[in-house]
Symmetry: C2
Subunit: 124 residues, 2 copies
DNA sequence: GGTCGTAATATACGACAGGGAATAACCATT
DNA sequence: AATGGTTATTCCCTGTCGTATATTACGACC
């Protein structure tokens, strides 16, 4: 009942399986920096607000704000500064620590991609 | 309102953050082999039944059975064989492919641990 | 000083993964 | 043929997570 009896078809030399994964940095209260949080940081940098980043990433403002709070709480210096009122109603921006965090994570994630690709050879 | 102002405390040379992650093998229908599935396979090997493995891992039989089905469906040859009735009411056992899957995944997971440890140095 | 769009916060709603229970089928052993 | 523990399968229920919605506070700019 499982059909397909292999058929000795040797197309796809290293084909059927691929290795996937999540990787993230943990701080005092759990998740601190992951791919989603980094995307949020980039969204904030490019839109100038938490609201704009949330819309771009199709997540609720509430969640975006919670993530920003979580990151700021767990870092000795905040990654995002936000201000209310004023020109445009307020906004948010990355700090230098925020930029550095993005950079470090992206390098790690790239290395992770290479790692997965290499390890996938274990499952031909 | 975020307190703590860093304090220039340089104990914990590479301390605050650690890198964590999940890694798994994907097949045709999604997840094929992960740490939980491997633990289940080992539980089956050691208890001789899906029921026993589920109890040991404190998961419902339903879930355990679904995981076994998923693995068997996505492998050219099943990782687990099960039989009903007979001595002891039936049972389950690993195939040779099942043993090899455990082996391959554990090696990969070990390499993953080393990778995370190495990459954590990016976040001092 | 009114305006505007954002930050910040609370509440209610909905989706869904997983758990638990219940049931039927199975078959060597006794 | 009765037993017993397991596989296989279905149905319901609940906790959790995130979304959506609503409200208030804010302050530079016109």
């Amino acid at each position: 009942m499982r059909g397909a009896k292999s058929k000795t078809k040797k197309a796809c030399p290293e084909g059927g399986y691929r290795v996937r994964g999540h990787i993230w940095v943990e701080g005092a209260e759990g998740a601190f920096l992951g791919i989603g949080r980094v995307a949020l940081l980039e969204g904030i940098r490019e839109t100038g607000s938490i609201t704009g980043a949330a819309k771009r990433l199709k997540m609720s403002y509430r969640r975006a704000w919670e993530l920003v709070e979580s990151m700021n709480r767990q870092s000795p210096e905040p990654l995002v500064t936000a201000s209310t009122g004023g020109k445009g109603g307020g906004g948010a921006a990355l700090t230098d620590a925020g930029e550095k965090a993005i950079e470090a994570f992206k390098r790690m994630d790239e290395a992770f991609g290479k790692f997965r690709e290499k390890e996938a050879k274990r499952f031909p």
